[in-house]
Symmetry: C2
Subunit: 469 residues, 2 copies
C-alpha cells in the first residue's frame, strides 16, 4: 500500500466506502454500514455491562453555549461549521444569539442538560452514551482517518466522587483496548496523553493507538477524566446524602469510524480487504460457475440453509464467474463457496478460505463444520501479522544522539523514549520536531532510573513518539 | 389535553423528551431513545423481508446539487439550513460552489451516488434505507410533531420497470399502515395524496394519517413513486438485459420521530403516558415500599429474574414511595410491582396494571404468567379507544351547504367528501379554506356516482379533509 489512490481503491472496490459530493464527507454502502454495525454491537454489549444507557442529542448547538468553556472552545474553534438558520443574503445581519454550530463533540449540550436534570445523589452515577455524527472542518482529508463528517460514539458520565470517575475512565480505555486487540485484531499501545496532547478541558486523557502500513500512528479511541471542572463551568450540582450541594466528577470517551480505516489498512492483502471472521460483513460468499436451472436452485438451497448461521452473499454482479470471485475477494469475504455443474450433480461444494486460499471439495452437509473449524484461524493469523508489524516498527531510543540518527534515517514508527513529562520540555520538542508528537505515556516502561533524552532531567516515564494522522 | 404546556409536561415527566438549547431541536433521554429503538426494530424486521439494505449518507450536501431538481428545490428551499465551512466574518466572500446545506431529505445525494454505481440490470432492484437525522427550518415548533432537527428513516429504491416500482411504493405504505395500527395501536386512514399535496417531484404519494386529541390531523408516514423523473434528472442509467441504456424507476418512503408524539398523544391518561406493551420502554416497574436490607435484596432478586424476560426499572429517584409510584405511572410503565415488608416476608408481590389499576397480591412465582395473561389487554384496550376517537371525529359530508355548516360550528376532524380531484378545484379550495387541506384520497369510498361538493363536477373519489400539524 503506497499511494492514496490504492487505499481508495481498496475500500471502494471492497464495498465499504464511497465518496460523496461535499468535501470530507462519505457514504457508507451496505457492507461499510454493516461493518460499523458489527463494531457497534460489540461495544454496546460491553458498555451495557458497565451500566451505560443510550440517549440522543442534537447536532445543532448555539455557539454561545460553546463559548462557556474557554479551554474547550480554544481546542475546537477553527474546526467549527457555522450554520445559518435564514437563507444567505449579501446584507446578512448576523445575530450572535442565533448563531448555531454543528457539534464537533457534545460535552456542552450534555452538561447544559445535566445542569437541568441532576438534583440528587440518588440519580448518580449517570452513565450516558450516544451513537451519532460529528462535524469538524478538516483540511487534510483521508477517508475514514480524517473526515469533516463522521460517525462515532461518545459517552458522558457523572459520578458523586473523583475516585469513581477516574476508575470509570480507566475501565473504558481497557474496554477499548480489548476491542482493538481482540475484536479488530489490531496490535496497539495504550496509555496517558501528555499535558500538551490532552483533550481540551480534561485532567487525564487515555488513548489507544495503532500503527499503519506507512508507519504513521493512528489514535483509535480516547477516554477522558475531567475532575469536576466541566460540572463547575456548567453549574451541574446535586445534593449529597449529607444534604450538601456538590459538583459531580465526570468523564467522556469515544471511538469512531476511524476504526474502519484502521481495520482495512491493518489486514488487507494483494487481493483486497481481509477481516477477522466475526467482523466480516460477508462471512460466506456463493459464486456460480456458469448458471443453469439446476445450479441456480442448488445455490438457492445452500444460501437459505447457510444464512441461518452466517452473513451470506451471492456474488453475481458480473456475467463472468472469475470477476465475481475477484469481487468476493475484494470485499474480504471469509469463505468462498464455488458451485458449478459438478457440485450441483454431486451435492458437493468447492470451498476456499480467504487467508489460506487452498481449495477443497466437500460434501454439502459438511460446510458448517468446515467453517466452524477454520473461523478462528482468521483472528490468530491477523493478530500475529499485526503484532509483528507493530514490533518491527517500534524503536527503543536511549539518547538524543540515537534519536537524531533515527530521524535522519527517515525511520518512521513508534519511538519509545525516556521522558521527563515536563510541559516546557514538551513545548520545546514540538517546536523542533513537528510533525512528530507524543502519542502516549506507557503505564509501565523501561525508562525508570533513566534520563529524559530531550532535556537531561531525570525521566519520569516512558513516552511513545510518532507521526500521527 | 388542552394546552401545549400540558403536552410538554406529559412527555418531559414521562422521560421521553427534553428540550435542548437550539430552537426546534430536542434531546431523547434513555426512555425516549428506547421507544425509538423499539419502533426501529419493528420496522427493520419488516423492511428486511422486502429485501431492504441499510446505508449511511452524509448530512452535508452541496447546495448546487440540490438545485438540479427544480420542483424538489421549490418544495424545500425555504426550509434549508445553510452551512459555512469557514468562520463567520463581516466581509465574508461567499463562494457558490462551497455553499453547503444540511439535508432536509436525501434524494439528491442518493441519486448522485446511484448515477455513479449503477451499471447493469443485474444490480436491480436497489433497495436502500438509512436511519438518520434531517434538518428543516420550522417556524411553528411542536415537540416531536414539528421540529427543525429530527430522526427518521428514508428508503430509496431503483427498479428496472415502472410496475415493480409502483408496487413497491404500495407495499411500503401497507407496511406503515400495519405499523401504525397494529404496533402503535393508533387508528388511521391511508390513501393517495392529491395533485397539490404530493411530495415535490413525485408522481404518486401515499400517506398514513391519524387524528390527535385536539382533532387535528397528523401525517405519520409517506411513500412516493417517482416514475423515472429523478433518474433522468440525475442521469441514473443501466444497460438492460437486451443491452439498451435505460433509466430506472424509483421510490422513496419515510417515517419519523413524529410517531413518538402521536403515540404519546393517542394513549395518555390523567396519570401520564400509556403504551402498548410491546413498545413500552419500561414493561415492569419495581417500587420499594420503605427500604431495608431484606426488602432491598428481595427487590434485587426479582429484578434479576424478571429482566431476563422484560424491560425492567427500579423506581427509586425519590425517598417517598408514593412519588416513585407516580413516576412509574408518568413513564407509562405497563406493570407496577410494589414490594414492602409484607411482600418480602411472604415472598409475594403486589402487582398492578397501568390500564386497569386494580391491585392484586400474588406469589412471586406467578409474576411472569400474570404479565403474559394480561399484556395483550393493552393493545386491545388502546386500539378500541383510538378507533372510537377517530370515528367520533370523522364526518361524512355530502353537500357544500353541510360543509359550510360544519365549518361554522367550528367542528374539527376528518371530513369525508365526494371530490372531483381536479387541480383547479383544489387550488380554489386552498384559497378559501386554508388551514383546512386535503389529507388523502381513499382507495374505496362512498363517493362513487356522487357530485364534488366544491365544483359540481362528477366526483371521482372520496377525499379526506382536515387541519394538519
Amino acid at each position: 500500500m503506497k499511494t492514496n489512490k490504492e487505499y481508495i481503491s481498496l475500500i471502494e472496490d471492497g464495498g465499504i466506502f464511497s465518496y460523496s459530493p461535499a468535501r470530507g464527507t462519505f457514504i457508507l454502502p451496505p457492507n461499510g454500514l454493516l461493518l460499523w454495525s458489527l463494531m457497534k454491537e460489540y461495544l454496546r454489549k460491553n458498555f451495557s455491562l458497565l451500566g451505560v444507557k443510550e440517549v440522543s442529542m442534537p447536532c445543532l448547538i448555539p455557539f454561545s453555549l460553546f463559548n462557556k468553556e474557554k479551554k474547550h472552545i480554544q481546542g475546537f474553534s477553527p474546526e467549527l461549521f457555522h450554520v445559518q438558520s435564514e437563507p444567505l443574503s449579501d446584507n446578512h445581519n448576523h445575530r450572535e444569539d442565533m448563531d448555531l454550530v454543528l457539534r464537533p463533540t457534545s460535552e456542552v449540550v450534555f452538561y447544559e442538560w445535566f445542569s437541568r436534570i441532576l438534583k440528587s445523589y440518588r440519580q448518580l452515577p449517570i452513565i450516558y452514551n450516544q451513537w451519532c455524527k460529528v462535524f469538524r472542518i478538516e483540511k487534510n482529508i483521508k477517508p475514514f482517518l480524517r473526515n469533516s463528517e463522521f460517525l462515532w460514539q461518545e459517552g458522558h458520565t457523572l459520578h458523586s466522587n473523583s475516585i469513581e470517575a477516574e476508575k470509570f475512565a480507566f475501565q473504558i480505555i481497557e474496554l477499548y483496548r480489548k476491542y482493538v486487540e481482540e475484536f479488530l485484531c489490531i496490535s496497539s499501545i495504550s496509555g496517558l496523553k501528555t499535558e500538551c496532547e490532552k483533550f481540551a478541558g480534561a485532567v487525564k486523557t487515555y488513548s489507544v493507538e495503532c500503527i499503519l502500513p506507512d508507519n504513521q500512528c493512528l489514535q483509535l479511541a480516547t477516554s477522558h477524566f475531567f475532575s469536576d471542572s466541566f460540572s463547575k463551568t456548567f453549574k451541574v450540582e446535586f445534593s449529597s446524602q449529607e444534604n450538601f450541594l456538590k459538583n459531580p466528577f465526570s468523564t467522556s470517551w469515544g471511538t469512531s469510524t476511524r476504526s474502519i480505516g484502521a481495520l482495512a489498512l491493518s489486514h488487507y492483502d494483494e487481493k483486497g480487504l481481509v477481516f477477522p471472521f466475526d467482523v466480516s460483513p460477508v462471512q460466506v460468499g456463493l459464486i456460480k460457475y456458469r448458471s443453469d436451472c439446476k445450479i441456480d436452485s442448488y445455490v438457492s438451497l445452500i444460501e437459505k440453509e447457510i444464512s441461518k448461521h452466517y452473513r451470506v452473499k451471492v456474488y453475481e454482479k458480473s456475467s463472468s464467474s472469475n470477476l465475481n470471485i475477484k469481487d468476493c475477494d475484494k470485499e474480504g469475504c471469509s469463505f468462498k463457496v464455488i458451485i458449478g455443474k459438478n457440485e450441483a450433480e454431486n451435492q458437493s461444494l468447492t470451498v476456499c478460505t480467504r487467508i489460506s486460499n487452498e481449495k477443497e471439495v466437500i460434501n454439502k452437509e459438511l460446510l458448517i463444520s468446515f467453517i466452524e473449524e477454520r473461523k478462528i484461524s482468521f483472528s490468530k493469523f491477523l493478530k500475529k501479522k499485526s503484532l509483528e508489524k507493530r514490533l518491527s516498527s517500534t524503536f527503543e531510543i536511549n539518547s538524543y544522539g540515537d534519536f537524531i540518527r533515527i530521524i535522519k534515517d527517515e525511520k518512521k514508527g513508534f519511538f519509545i523514549v525516556p521522558f521527563c513529562n515536563v510541559e516546557i520540555c514538551e513545548n520545546n520538542f514540538k517546536k523542533n520536531f513537528s510533525p512528530l508528537s507524543f502519542r502516549c505515556i506507557l503505564e509501565k516502561g523501561f525508562a525508570i532510573e533513566k534520563t529524559c533524552i530531550f532535556c537531561d532531567r531525570k525521566s519520569s516515564c516512558t513516552a511513545v513518539l510518532g507521526r500521527s494522522y
